[in-house]
Symmetry: C2
Subunit: 145 residues, 2 copies
Amino acid sequence: MQANPQHNQLLVKHNLKITTPRLSVLAVLTTREMATSQPDLEQLLGSKIDRVTLYRTLSTFEEKGILHKVMGANGTLNYALCSSACTQHQHHDQHVHFNCTLCLNVYCLDKLQIPQLQIPDGFTTKKIDLMVSGVCDKCNNAYSK
Amino acid sequence: MQANPQHNQLLVKHNLKITTPRLSVLAVLTTREMATSQPDLEQLLGSKIDRVTLYRTLSTFEEKGILHKVMGANGTLNYALCSSACTQHQHHDQHVHFNCTLCLNVYCLDKLQIPQLQIPDGFTTKKIDLMVSGVCDKCNNAYSK
DNA sequence: TTAAGTGCAAAATCTTTGCAAATGT
DNA sequence: ACATTTGCAAAGATTTTGCACTTAA
């Protein structure tokens, strides 16, 4: 596994050992700029990593705040690296995603700011996730041609 | 099963036959004012309904737009009846939920309006789901006492 | 009457657990 | 060297499928 200083650093920061499977997962996730489902990850990683190790890696990464889960429209779980802002202090508290109902891809739209909401009295807000579903630009283009 | 005209009407409107299992599911879901997980539903329904029938009922209801899925923080799927607005034309296109990280309940905050969002060019929006996580009023009270 | 819906059994999937071997520090 | 992490096998859960029986219209 070729060294990627960023990834090594990321693992060290979270008191995780630098291992091949973990680096592979990070490598795949950074390549794709969207959230990836567990089955897709499994396929992308090929036989580089055991299925069980993948499960464990994903749950470790989630605990540590290295990645976050997103629920796709079809009910599949998708995983995405938290944005750089995320990994800094504790955890970025806002996530905006777009789920294309045609290609099923889940895009991270972390640039988008979630507007202020009027939460009912007595409720304390810690985290906000916003999922927009529809058709992504690629699929829109493909069909309008 | 005691007749609830509303429920019967709901089923008829969607070309579904009025059956005991379906009415039981509707009865339970209307009682609880929050989203309910499949395992919880199973427990609440007791032996009134086969597990397989529950799966099938839920997926039928979801297809027809009678209820919608919500993803809880812990990764469990929760089901909630769509608000009345929902069942009318086709499908209400905005859902706001609150997931308490202590009691794990998922509240439907369908009164809340989601502010306008600036979706990137080329993307078409069909549906917006917003999930707020934090601590609900009951749990807040319980701890502040 | 007859198409839709149910319930059981069994298959297929998905996820977790236990433990010995391998690996990173 | 020692604690962590991996990979395999197997257990446990969850979800789906097939099919005969039942039920609503």
